[in-house]
């Protein structure tokens, strides 16, 4: 039968058209019934529909009536009329149910989708000590619900998109209309609309389609499963991208320093939070420079060590056959292997591997004379520092950064490290996504925006929004502690 849009009057032809379009898939079910003497059939894909809804709302409604219009009967269910069979088929795949009457080219599409939801529990990778413990789940509508419940404002806008030729993934772009820069919104919309691919799996695919610099090591959008993080960023004028089937939201545009902020910071005392922030920043530097500095020091410039330390380190290096670079690489790679394996292990075995990997391998490898004790100290400190980052992608980026630095250090000593840092700085300053610089507020240097970067100023001192997303409105609060004046 030729493809057609218009429904047929004959029931049988409609049915066979639908069946053929769906390639006679086995889970397409029919249920015939009699309504007002008219032969009608309910078509649905049984893996998608909620049988209970069909039972209670559809069948009972239809069975008991006589001689009236069908339409007003479906009061408790979302429904609409259509004559376009193609739409009908699309709806079928979405889990809706078609009700076709013989002799009537109009048919009804009923919403009977079944959804399997899990609890909105706190995401595992992003736990906080103090603060909300809920998280996004795979259903887009639930996620939007969580967001809307916290920003009860008419200027919170949601725009839907459908991407992926075959997957038809539903994407929602969320932003605050009167705060976010319109140019930014346009840019995001344009990039999402230009995605043309068969399959789009959130969030990784979206991120790669939409970002400015796919060749950079550094992540350019923040991916988070926590509603409070999304909300905070929306309030600063950024855009959130959510997708059906993924509990992660992507936030764009984002600066480098956003990856080092944790929601925890805002729920603790500001002096303590500032201290923790500083430690995190330090950990960034340590994570990729420590092995390089160590290699450079013992290979090139041992003179800088204090006398006792020089002798101690030399003692531990005495029986190692490899040069320092090989030793470091070996240990780092073993570490990465252990870490990767640890992700996939079932939790019961995980404990054992922890002990085996850490104590036994660590100690045995030193006794066998393959690696020195000081190298183990360096590598473990580095590894711990790299996990201090609240974001997983950033910690991976930093870990990989280590290796070129080590090579540079092994070739040129401290000069190599200096050049490595220069190249890294150039790269970070060069990165821009959606028009805002990645390394703000360090470059371009804005002292005012620094209030929330290295340390955290008290909440009542953060009067202005940060500049990097170029929001429309800069002032976010007035003088909140006015009662203090009374004292």
């Amino acid at each position: 039968m030729a493809p057609t849009n218009h429904a047929f009057s004959e029931l049988k032809m409609n049915i066979s058209y639908v069946e053929q379009s769906l390639y006679y898939t086995d889970d397409l079910k029919q249920q015939s019934l009699l309504f007002n003497g008219v032969q009608s059939v309910l078509l649905y894909i049984d893996s998608l529909v909620d049988q209970e809804i069909i039972q209670t709302h559809v069948l009972t409604a239809l069975n008991g009536q006589a001689d009236s219009e069908i339409y007003p009967l479906f009061t408790t269910l979302e429904s609409r009329k259509d004559t376009d069979l193609q739409n009908g088929i699309d709806s079928l795949i979405q889990g809706k149910c078609l009700c076709i009457l013989d002799g009537n080219p109009e048919f009804y599409i009923l919403s009977t989708e079944k959804m399997y939801v899990r609890n909105t529990t706190e995401p595992e990778n992003e736990g906080v000590i103090r603060g909300p413990h809920n998280g996004f789940i795979e259903q887009l509508s639930v996620n939007l619900n969580l967001i809307r419940r916290q920003i009860i404002s008419p200027s919170l806008i949601v725009r839907y998109f459908n991407v992926g030729e075959k997957t038809h993934t539903k994407i929602a772009v969320v932003y605050l209309q009167d705060v976010t820069n319109p140019a930014l919104i346009e840019e995001v919309k344009e990039r999402i609309s230009s995605i043309s691919s068969d399959m789009v799996l959130a969030p990784g695919f979206i991120e790669e389609f939409v970002e400015d610099n796919p060749f950079s090591l550094f992540p350019q959008q923040l991916s988070t499963e926590r509603p409070d993080r999304v909300i905070a960023n929306l309030m600063e004028g950024r855009v959130a991208i959510l997708a059906e089937g993924s509990p992660s939201a992507l936030i764009a545009p984002v600066t480098f320093f956003a990856f080092y902020q944790s929601p925890d910071d805002y729920h603790g005392r500001w002096i303590v939070s500032s201290f923790l922030r500083l430690i995190r920043m330090m950990s960034f530097v340590i994570a990729f420079t420590l092995p390089a500095v160590y290699i450079a020091t013992i290979s090139f410039h041992s003179a800088i060590l204090p006398l006792e330390l020089a002798h101690t380190i030399k003692k531990s290096l005495q029986s190692i056959p490899f040069p320092a670079l090989v030793e470091a690489m070996l240990l780092e790679l073993i570490f990465e292997v252990l870490r990767e394996a640890g992700v996939r292990l079932p939790s019961r075995v995980g404990q054992t591997i922890g002990i085996v990997g850490g104590l036994v391998i660590g100690d045995a490898i030193v006794r066998a004379g393959l690696v020195s004790y000081t190298m183990i100290i360096v590598v473990s400190l580095t590894a711990i520092s790299s996990f201090l980052v609240p974001s997983h992608e950033m910690s991976s980026a930093v870990r990989i950064l280590r290796f070129p630095m080590m090579i540079g250090a092994a070739l040129f000593g401290y000069i190599g490290i200096a050049f490595g840092l220069v190249i890294l700085t150039i790269h970070l300053c060069k990165l821009e996504n959606f028009g805002s610089p990645y390394f703000a507020p360090v470059a371009p240097f804005r002292l005012k925006d620094m209030k929330d970067v290295w340390i955290r100023f008290p909440i009542w001192a953060l009067r202005e929004r940060p500049h990097d997303a170029r929001p429309q409105r800069l002032n976010q609060q007035k003088f909140s502690r006015s009662w203090k004046k009374r004292e």
């Binding site: 070739l411 040129f412 000069i415 050049f419 240097f445």
Partner: protein, 362 residues
């Protein structure tokens, strides 16, 4: 000028400061000492004053053409063909200065830190890093250089450790060398402070009024004069005069001998920091040269010219093998600086008054 290619006055200030604190901070105390002995720091101040005059001169010229760089000014005043020749001359000058700094930097690394690494390897490092940086838009270059310019602070902190070793008696008598020598010592300061010529090219790209731009550049130079005077002072007092006669790089020597707690070689910390700063200065020269070439060939962005400029510079830096030839590069560069920074702007200024060429006020 769209937003992509402008820099702010604050950035200009830091940039000029960075460019002027160059290679010569290491050897300035030595060269000044040879001429002025204890009165070295007086020479520094004199030299600083002279630099301000030169900056004023150049500014007077640039002020008449607020939205042109030196390349455009030259073409406007001297006509198309002479202008082109002058542009090539300026490009050559910038290239030479950059190369001279590069050669000096390599020399320092070679003597103090990496003795066995072959020249091409270190030059390759510079090559790749500077191409990577200078290809970017001016804004981004400015951001990176601003960050690098903050390194001046740790450098100065390290140098100020030398205060522990001061023996003021070494300074006296201050006018031991005699005033004529002290004055000629100020020319050494002059040579050490070349770097502000960057603003000849970026003048139009700085946001703000002409007067404001002058203030930024002048202030930056003044700060640099202070820092140089401080360094010369410390070196002159930490070492006996006879010692200074022997040391071509007293600053590094100073740092080598200061114990930082139990750590020994503070110069290993200082030299990489200093090197990054020098790298910034070299990139500044590369940028001005590339900009000139791209202007000559009517390119929209200086990106394409960059690899050629940098490659040429590294090749020149690679060729000489003897110490005298290396020094020749620096000498030529410094001598030509007088021409390009003083004589030519003066000439152009005078010509622009005579020929009544001026940019129309909008």
């Amino acid at each position: 000028m769209n937003k992509e290619t402008t820099i702010t006055r604050g950035q200009l200030f830091l940039l000029i400061m960075k460019f002027e604190i160059g290679v010569d901070i290491l050897s300035l105390p030595y060269r000044i000492h040879l001429l002025s002995k204890g009165g070295g720091w007086i020479s520094v101040f004199l030299g600083g004053f002279l630099i301000q005059l030169i900056i004023l001169l150049c500014w007077l010229l640039m002020r008449r053409f607020p939205s042109s760089s030196i390349y455009q000014i030259v073409t406007l005043i001297a006509g198309k063909w002479i202008g082109k020749i002058l542009i090539i001359a300026y490009v050559g000058y910038f290239l030479l200065m950059g190369t001279s700094v590069l050669v000096n930097a390599y020399g320092v690394i070679n003597r103090w830190m990496l003795q066995d690494t072959p020249r091409w390897a270190i030059l390759a490092l510079f090559l790749f890093s500077s191409i990577y940086l200078v290809r970017q838009k001016l804004r981004i270059i400015a951001r990176v250089l601003v960050l690098i310019s903050f390194l001046v602070l740790p450098m100065m902190v390290l140098i100020s450790y030398g205060i522990k070793e001061i023996n003021l008696l070494y300074l006296l008598p201050m006018t031991e060398a005699g005033w004529p020598n002290i004055i000629s010592g100020s020319t050494e300061t002059l040579m050490a402070m070349f770097g502000f010529e960057f603003f000849l090219v970026v003048f139009p790209m700085v946001e703000g009024s002409s007067g404001g731009k002058l203030k930024s550049v002048a202030l930056a130079s003044a700060v640099v004069v202070m820092l140089y005077a401080f360094t010369v002072f410390i070196c002159s007092t930490a070492f006996s005069p006879q010692q200074l006669d022997l040391m071509p790089e007293p600053v590094i020597y100073l740092l080598r001998s200061i114990p930082l707690g139990t750590m020994d070689r503070a110069d290993f910390l200082f030299l990489p920091i200093w090197l990054i700063s020098i790298f910034g200065a070299i990139c500044g020269y590369y940028y001005t040269a590339s900009y000139g070439i791209s202007y000559l060939f009517k390119q929209k962005h200086h990106k394409k010219a960059v690899p050629y400029v940098v490659l040429a510079s590294c090749v020149i830096a690679y060729l000489p093998h003897q110490k005298e030839n290396l020094e020749l590069i620096s000498t030529i560069a410094n001598r030509s600086a007088y021409f390009f920074l003083m004589i030519l702007p003066l000439l152009l200024l005078v010509l622009s008054y005579i020929l009544k060429r001026k940019e129309k006020m909008i």
